[in-house]
Symmetry: C2
């Protein structure tokens, strides 16, 4: 049997045929054209699945199930997308719509949760039990896997690790709160802080590496400048890691997962990020305890969401 | 069938015979005398169980299982108390020791987790699905119930909601970190803040109600003085509720439980605490969302841990 995973994004819809073991064997994507009616978008999604099946020589009877990872808040039990701001979807019956075109079981969950499940099943956390995936990108996304299941809460909107306050009365978050982890630990935050430091310290390598234009700053440059010995950049990175560590230790004290998987742009730094992060975390955990949770970087990249979506049937059977 | 629950404390050992529905039908307690060898303490525990059984006319075949709630870190799968600081227990084989005296299945978990399970099964959260119990006492204890199971993490020490940082670089916590929720939201914190305010404002009712002796301050007085219109006390209470709410919204954004159960001394304030707390939480949750999580006070008091311990067999079968 094969599984189909779909990653419904604001720009593109990616879908893939996935094996029992969570390996992608055929993948393609189409534009979402998100201004359309949901029925049009879902028809395209179904047709993309049918085309992939045909290309692979598969029939409906060969497909165990389809899983959809979507932005926003999903009700997995009923297959309804309750709310997705950037798609302007509200209470969309995803399962029913898809089953108009393909008669297989259809599952649904939030995209960040699917990515966490993907890393857990066949990515960086595949050899570990409980895992938490934290994505450091525009915001801080999260997905929590306990006993093989996704923690989403009784109202399907949980798992929002980026929106836990680590600095009460701190800076304003997009969510309305003050001092959320996301305000300090996202790639956006690192870039913002690096820009401020570069503007204040024109002799810093931070400014050299963006050719004097702080608009060109990205999440890699502070690490590059720090590695080349630039003290201003080292301070920016050290402060960023301190913020990151506070939230990570909160996660550890609450979940004690066997692994924390770090994804998103910043995770490209690999051990440059993980080595000082582990040190800072070690300083903050209880007494003389040795840090038991493994910190690893994500392995599946953008495929994590597709693979996790394909595996949803394993947790919502 | 009947269940036995044991609450192993640093001062007393309480045990009870509990029905299938989580009702206590016979209870008693003995001193722990914690300086003794663990084998002595466990022998007394077993004898207390045997005596309760005899008094109730029950035989071993009538007892489904025994559950033990203990301070510290427990390995429930193997029935081993890994570490309990105030008992000086380290890697104590609780199950094996108990079974020397009574031949029934023996289960074990942390006492705060047992209390959360007790409230979930037959206390304040019995009509709800996922629940989080937060105990506001000397510290801030927590227990997280998802899908009827306790979240303790891969290394059995999770669920430590009191030790998540809400105020980075804030005041030092006993755990070593800076700015843990416990530092601001425990009954201890409220009493400390009320003492400071009373000392600074000698005309405040806060000082009158302790007869001019701030050592007599407790967690009830700030609420009493606030209710009588004392502005200083109202400020103390409002600030305390703000601290409390930050952690509560963090819990809601991560777990979205159907209910949060508040226990410990401060919970005696009931709606005096809950009404302003709900308002502050409502202000902090996403956009225009209505707060869905119910906030309720604990119902089982000290029995929660015993009842939860008795019910451990239901989750670790």
């Amino acid at each position: 049997m094969y599984y189909i995973g779909i990653d419904l994004g604001g720009t593109n819809i990616a879908a893939a045929i996935v094996t029992e073991e969570g390996k992608i064997i055929r993948k393609d994507s189409i534009p979402t054209l998100r201004e359309r009616e949901y029925s049009e978008i879902l028809k395209d999604m179904a047709n993309l699945c049918l085309r992939l099946m045909e290309e692979e020589g598969l029939e409906t009877k060969d497909i165990h199930s389809i899983g959809i990872g979507s932005p926003g808040t999903a009700d997995p039990q009923n297959g309804i997308l309750l709310y997705a701001n950037n798609l302007k979807f509200k209470n969309v019956p995803m399962r029913t719509e898809m089953q108009k075109y393909i008669s297989v079981p259809v599952y649904l969950d939030n995209d960040a949760n699917c990515a966490a499940l993907g890393e857990s099943v066949s990515g960086a956390a595949r050899h570990y039990g409980d895992s938490v995936t934290v994505t450091l990108g525009t915001g801080v996304g999260g997905g929590i896997i306990v006993d093989g299941k996704i923690i989403t809460g009784s109202f399907h909107g949980g798992g929002e690790l980026g929106h836990h306050v680590i600095k009460m009365d701190g800076d304003r978050c997009n969510c309305g709160r003050l001092g959320c982890w996301e305000v300090y630990a996202s790639a956006t935050a690192l870039i913002r802080d690096a820009r401020v430091a570069a503007a204040k310290n024109p002799k810093s390598l931070l400014l050299t590496l963006v050719d004097g234009d702080i608009q060109k700053m990205n999440a890699k440059i502070p690490f590059d400048a720090a590695a080349q010995g630039d003290e201003i950049a080292q301070e920016v990175v050290a402060q960023y890691i301190r913020y990151l560590a506070v939230g990570m230790v909160n996660i550890i004290n609450i979940f004690q997962p066997e692994a924390i998987v770090i994804g998103g742009g910043v995770s490209a730094q690999g051990e440059n990020l993980l080595v000082p992060l582990r040190e800072e975390i070690q300083r903050q955990i209880y007494g003389e305890d040795q840090l038991q949770t493994k910190l690893v970087t994500a392995e599946l990249g953008n495929d994590a969401g597709i693979i996790g979506a394909a595996m949803l049937s394993k947790i919502y059977k």
